[in-house]
C-alpha cells in the first residue's frame, strides 16, 4: 500500500517524526557563574599592591626610585642594616622591576684602594634605612655608569669624600 502510494506520503511521515523528535529534546539549563574575585582586578596588580603594603607601608622606598624625583646614578647613598652595619657608595645603576619587588641599586666604592661593588635589593626587610648623602652638581652621561670602572672618571674613596663634605659644612656654619 505504501509502496504504491505517492512520495508525498513518505515525506510527510518523515517530517512528522522529525518534528516529534525536535519537540521532545530537552536542552540543559545553564546556571550563572560565580562572582568575580578581587572586584575583577588583575592578579599581578593585586598581589603587587599587597606586597608594597607589607614591605613599604610609608612609601619611602618607592619614592627613592622615582624616575624624576628620586635617585640618579652618580648620587652618594648610605645603607644601614638592622644590625647597624653601614655601606656607603656612589650609585652606578638602578635596576627596576615590573609589578614585583625586584628593584635593586648597584653602588661602588674604593676601600683601601680596592674597588668594591654591591648590588642591594631595595625592599629587603633587613634594610633599616637608605639615605641620600650627596647629589653632584653635574652628572655624567648615561644612566648606567658601568663604563667608569678603571678609568679617570672612576669613584674614589667615598667615605672620606663624605667626611670632608661634612667638615666643610661645619666650617661654613
Amino acid at each position: 500500500m505504501l509502496k504504491s502510494s505517492s512520495p508525498i506520503i513518505k515525506s510527510s511521515i518523515i517530517q512528522s517524526i522529525r518534528g516529534f523528535r525536535y519537540l521532545k529534546k530537552e536542552l540543559p539549563t545553564v546556571y550563572e557563574g560565580l562572582q568575580p574575585k578581587r572586584n575583577g582586578k588583575p592578579v599581578m596588580e593585586y598581589i603587587h599592591q599587597q606586597m608594597l603594603a607589607q614591605h613599604d607601608p610609608l612609601g619611602t622606598r618607592t619614592k627613592l626610585i622615582n624616575r624624576e624625583t628620586g635617585l640618579r646614578s652618580g648620587d652618594i647613598i648610605k645603607v644601614t642594616y638592622n644590625d647597624r652595619t653601614e655601606v656607603i657608595g656612589s650609585v652606578l645603576a638602578i635596576k627596576r622591576g615590573n609589578l614585583n619587588l625586584g628593584h635593586n641599586i648597584l653602588i661602588r666604592t674604593k676601600l683601601n684602594k680596592v674597588g668594591s661593588e654591591i648590588r642591594i635589593p631595595l625592599f629587603n626587610p633587613n634594610i633599616r634605612n637608605i639615605e641620600i648623602l650627596h647629589k653632584p652638581e653635574k652628572y655624567l652621561p648615561r644612566h648606567k655608569l658601568y663604563y667608569i670602572r678603571g678609568t679617570n672618571k672612576d669613584v674614589g674613596d667615598v667615605e672620606t669624600f663624605v667626611k670632608k663634605l661634612e667638615a666643610k659644612k661645619h666650617d661654613k656654619k
Partner: protein
C-alpha cells in the same frame, strides 16, 4: 672564578706579591674556586729579601715556593642569601699554613664577609675592613 694558571694578588706581609694557582683543593677538575676556597699556588713574584744581619725582618716565602692560600676577594660577582650581589676589582689571596693560620702578621686591604662564616676568624680580625 679561579682556575689553574690564574694570577692572584697576595695581601699579607709574608713576602709574596703575586702567586699563580696550580690547584683548587677539594674541587672537581673542571669547577672553579671562589671566596673561602683553599688553593695551592706558586710564588711568581716576591719582595726582595733584605740582609738578615742588617734587618731582622725576613720574608717567609721566596720566588718559586709552593704555598697554600685562601681566596679572600674575587672579580666574578657572587650572590648572598639576602639577594645582594658583591664583586671586587681583583682576585686576592692570603697565604696560610696547613692548620689554616695566616703566615703573615698583617693584612693590607679588605676581605669578604663570607670568611667569618667559614671560620677564618684570624684573617677577619687582622683585616682592616670587611665588605
Amino acid at each position: 672564578m679561579i682556575y689553574l694558571k690564574t694570577l692572584l694578588n697576595v695581601i699579607d706581609n709574608s713576602g709574596a706579591q703575586v702567586v699563580e694557582c696550580i690547584k683548587v683543593l677539594r674541587h672537581k677538575p673542571k669547577s672553579f674556586g671562589k671566596i673561602g676556597d683553599q688553593i695551592t699556588c706558586v710564588v711568581k713574584q716576591a719582595r726582595p729579601q733584605l740582609d738578615s744581619f742588617q734587618n731582622t725582618q725576613s720574608n717567609k716565602v721566596k720566588r718559586r715556593d709552593i704555598v697554600r692560600g685562601v681566596i679572600v676577594r674575587q672579580k666574578a660577582p657572587f650572590r648572598r642569601k639576602d639577594g645582594s650581589v658583591v664583586r671586587f676589582d681583583d682576585n686576592a689571596v692570603v697565604l696560610i699554613n696547613k692548620n689554616g693560620d695566616p703566615l703573615g702578621t698583617r693584612i693590607s686591604s679588605v676581605v669578604a664577609k663570607e670568611l667569618k662564616e667559614l671560620n677564618y676568624n684570624k684573617i677577619v680580625s687582622l683585616a682592616p675592613k670587611t665588605f
